[in-house]
């Protein structure tokens, strides 16, 4: 009953460092998403994937890269972290079909000093 799992749960980076956030889902969902959540704002879409080997830009893609080499995993990379990327990051997935419900992970809190 894992659903959507995000690792790590917390991370502190220094400006300029790089890191990768991992999202794994065990529901065989085609679609996967990365969002960021900032205080006083709703979730905003960073990048998404409509299937293995595909990625697309969302609303706020700058400074992030993603990869979907395996259907169950969606990686979010920060090549050179900036303080403006301090946020809580959420991954979500959804199946194909008419339901259109996204299932979320528990989030990763990232601080960039």
């Amino acid at each position: 009953n894992a659903g959507v799992t995000q690792t790590p749960k917390f991370r502190v980076l220094k400006t300029g460092q790089s890191m990768t956030l991992l999202c794994a889902q065990d529901m065989n969902h085609e679609y996967m998403y990365w969002y960021r959540q900032d205080p006083g704002m709703g979730l905003r879409l960073i990048h998404y994937s409509v299937g293995e080997g595909t990625t697309a830009k969302g609303e706020v893609p700058d400074g992030y890269n993603v990869s979907r080499l395996k259907k169950q995993n969606f990686l979010l990379g920060l090549e050179s972290a900036a303080p403006s990327q301090t946020s809580v990051y959420f991954c979500a997935s959804r199946p194909t079909g008419a339901i259109n419900i996204q299932y979320f992970g528990a989030g990763t809190r990232l601080s960039v000093l």
Partner: protein, 115 residues
Amino acid sequence: AQTVTQSQPEMSVQEAETVTLSCTYDTSESDYYLFWYKQPPSRQMILVIRQEAYKQQNATENRFSVNFQKAAKSFSLKISDSQLGDAAMYFCAYLPRYNTDKLIFGTGTRLQVFP
């Protein structure tokens, strides 16, 4: 561009009472989905209820129900018999049927439940 507005940053309710959270949205589309998500202190986003715009009947899930007014572009959430476990951030979200990868969230309403 579509937008979702939650005008109540915070709400409070007494245990066992009823509370209504407001949500309005702006769109020129006629076919779309609306959602309410709950985010407790654990941060996990949990789907509370879902409404399809072409359905006139308001969705209901146990103690949670919505008042969907399509012409007014309003989608409020009613929580009946409030429980301490209902305390959380609640997000309203909009999803156009023509672009089902662009889920748009409101800014959230923090609900406190007092015993």
